[in-house]
């Protein structure tokens, strides 16, 4: 049976109409994204944590830089997942581009000890350590505070007591960012996850119970056309959520967003994946009730562990490992890369990975999804 755009359009129209007419559909498509961004934007405007992972690159070979790192180490925790205070220092090899190194790890905080630090310090010449910060991150203020204390102490115990060491603050991407900037990709990902997942899990199980699929199987509409029309609809709603959230983000919270072409990839691939996954979950479940349970089991861990509301880098290491197997992580990480860091290499990796697993899950959904019974 040839793929028909006309049939798909008819299916898209009837689904769109239903969504617009149903109060739930209207709420989740238009109102919910705005509530999310207002709520979380307000909640996370302040607050903080006192434990932070800090990447340190020592470009100096002298004894002063070693002492400086030891002084920092004295404030450090053991980097264990349970640690809640202090700095967790992670060394960065001298030959690495530090900015890229931080970006590729979605990391917020880092310190560079410049070349010639020791000789300058010993000669009482002014020398600055560079502290990379992400103003949107709740850890950056903590890091800056601790480094300031170490610098003060270091200066007092220096050769002459002259305050020769200073701090040169830099943001991770070279311009001023706020937490809201990093919240928007998370919430766009959240929207791309929840709306199609909940809808498709529900549709696929209730349509089977109510024999709507049987009815459709008696028409020329194919399963693939049906599923593709759903993907198109949820790409549309995700784009709409993105627009609503960025407009609110920019005008209410003063967000800075890089509108790059890479965003488009994720706004398409994300719903593509989650529509397919929702369909698969609904298809393999026996009843609408069990589909809802399985759907929640799949959705909720992704919702909270993929960097939606909290940066993955601020989570304990074992949770970071879990995050790295969740597909939503790659959508949010990818959006962060293209919207915030403008870091296309890792962004394309995220997109590529998502495209591959989306194709696999889509194929599985079409394979297992049955109009009729044997």
């Amino acid at each position: 049976m040839a793929f028909s755009g006309r049939r798909m359009l008819a299916e898209l129209k009837v689904h769109a109409r239903g969504n617009i007419r149903s109060r739930e559909g209207f709420f989740f498509t238009l109102i919910f994204p705005i509530i999310l961004i207002l709520l979380f934007g307000a909640i996370f405007a302040g607050g903080g944590v006192s434990q932070a992972t800090v990447y340190v690159q020592n470009l100096d070979a002298g004894p002063a830089s070693v002492s400086f790192i030891q002084a920092l180490n004295a404030t450090s925790s053991d980097c264990s997942p349970s640690a809640t205070t202090g700095l967790c220092l992670r060394p960065v090899p001298a030959d690495q581009n530090f900015s890229q190194y931080l970006s590729s790890r979605s990391a917020a905080d880092g310190i560079i000890i410049p070349q010639g630090f020791s000789s300058a310090f010993q000669a009482d010449q002014k020398v600055n350590v560079t502290v990379f910060q992400n103003p949107s991150s709740t850890t950056s203020q903590v890091v800056y505070g601790i480094v300031s204390e170490v610098v003060n102490g270091f200066n007092q115990y220096g050769a002459t007591g002259v305050h020769s060491v200073g701090i040169e603050p830099r943001t991770v991407v070279g311009s001023e960012y706020k937490y809201i900037d990093f919240l928007i990709p998370g919430l766009v990902g959240f929207s791309a996850l929840t709306s199609p997942m909940f809808a498709l899990v529900n549709i696929s199980s209730t349509y089977r119970r109510d024999k709507v699929f049987k009815l459709l199987s008696l028409t020329p509409l194919t399963k693939t056309e049906w599923l593709v029309s759903k993907i198109i609809w949820y790409v549309g709603t995700t784009v709409l959520s993105f627009i609503l959230m960025t407009v609110v983000g920019i005008y209410v919270f003063g967000a800075h967003i890089a509108f790059t072409w890479g965003i488009g990839i994720f706004l398409v691939v994300g719903p593509f994946f989650f529509v397919s996954l929702g369909m698969l979950v609904g298809t393999v479940s026996n009843s609408p009730e069990s589909a809802a349970v399985v759907g929640n089991l799949v959705t909720f861990p992704m919702m909270f562990l993929s960097g939606t509301f909290f940066p993955v880098s601020s989570m304990p290491v074992y949770l970071q490992h879990i995050a790295h197997v969740l597909p939503l992580y790659y959508m949010i990480d990818g959006l962060n890369n293209v919207m915030i860091y403008e870091n296309y290499g890792p962004g394309l990796f995220d997109a590529g990975l998502l495209i591959v697993i989306s194709i696999v899950v889509f194929a599985l959904a079409v394979r297992f999804f049955r109009w009729r019974e044997d």
Partner: protein
């Protein structure tokens, strides 16, 4: 030529044998009804013919096509209302017809379709707000969008009030007048009697009787019976003094009449009994009587509503 040909059809669900060797054929332009209690195998049979289920054994041909393997081709030529027809909540009947027309790539005037199924009044009401009868009528309209040669109606009036039921019957009569073949499953005897040219009575996955209602009544009925309003003393008198087959229930004595002599003997004996009697009637077994005899008491609750 037959529109539907079924031979030795079998279907089991695990240990349950839903259809066990069913054979029949339906002529073009005929209204054929499968009648039987719930669980008789009617829906399984009709769903196999619609291409919704695959049979375990036997053959099924609709318009010469194997329904399971030639489903897409067949669905262009048949119309179906599944049992308990449900649709999406939000389209109006007019929109639903336009949607189906687009799926089938047919030029259809929705208002004309609504007129055919007598649903013009509810053209712009969301499906979820339609009454049961209106929903069934929309199902009819959708099943007709592709101008089908054969229409399958699986219990189209179950749960409807008498008025809505008669409106649906009116539409089915129109389908017959248009020359379409109609296959109808029902557990309402009255419906089969009103609409069907031929009836097959199904029970426990098998056809137990088939033909026109008249043929079934005369073949499976027990002939004529005389019914007299009387007390039990007449029943006792007839049992003790005649060889007639008599039954008594709720103040009525029923005498089976095997021939004319039985009628004369009965009348004489009633007069001789000297008991108090009144309201004498003679009638043939109805389809309901035959149905109850064939499917047993289990079919009474479901089959005689």
């Amino acid at each position: 030529m037959s529109a539907i040909e079924v031979a030795g059809l079998e279907k089991s669900y695990g240990q349950l044998r839903a259809v066990g060797g069913v054979s029949f054929s339906v002529r073009k332009g005929e209204v054929f009804s499968l009648l039987g209690p719930n669980g008789a195998g009617k829906t399984t049979t009709i769903e196999i013919l619609e291409g919704l289920r695959r049979q375990d054994g036997g053959t099924a041909r609709v318009l010469g096509l194997d329904p399971w393997h030639k489903g897409y081709e067949l669905h262009e030529r048949i119309g179906v209302i599944p049992q308990g027809f449900k649709f999406l909540d939000y389209p109006t009947p007019r929109e639903a017809i336009a949607y189906y027309a687009a799926l089938f790539n047919r030029r259809v005037e929705p208002d004309e379709m609504l007129r055919r199924v007598i649903l013009e009044d509810a053209a712009n009401v969301w499906f979820q707000n339609l009454s049961g009868g209106q929903k069934q009528k929309l199902g009819m309209a959708l099943s007709l969008v592709n101008d089908p040669e054969v229409v399958f109606l699986d219990e189209p009036t179950t749960g409807l009030d008498p008025q809505a039921r008669r409106a649906v019957w009116e539409v089915i009569r129109k389908l017959k007048n248009e020359g379409r073949t109609v296959m109808l499953t029902t557990h309402y005897l009255e419906e089969a009697e009103e609409l069907a040219d031929r009836v097959a009575i199904m029970n426990h996955g098998k056809i137990v009787a088939m033909g026109t209602t008249g043929e079934i009544e005369s073949k499976f009925g027990s002939g004529q019976k005389m019914m007299v309003k009387a007390k039990d003393d007449l029943l006792t008198y007839l049992r003790e003094n005649t060889k007639l087959q008599v039954e008594g229930e709720a103040g009525t004595v029923t005498i089976r009449l095997r021939d004319k002599d039985d009628a004369l003997v009965a009348l004489g004996a009633i007069e001789e009994s000297g008991t108090d009697w009144g309201d004498l009637n003679v009638k043939r077994d109805s389809l309901e009587d035959v149905f109850l005899r064939l499917v047993g008491e289990e079919g009474r609750e479901e089959g005689t509503e």
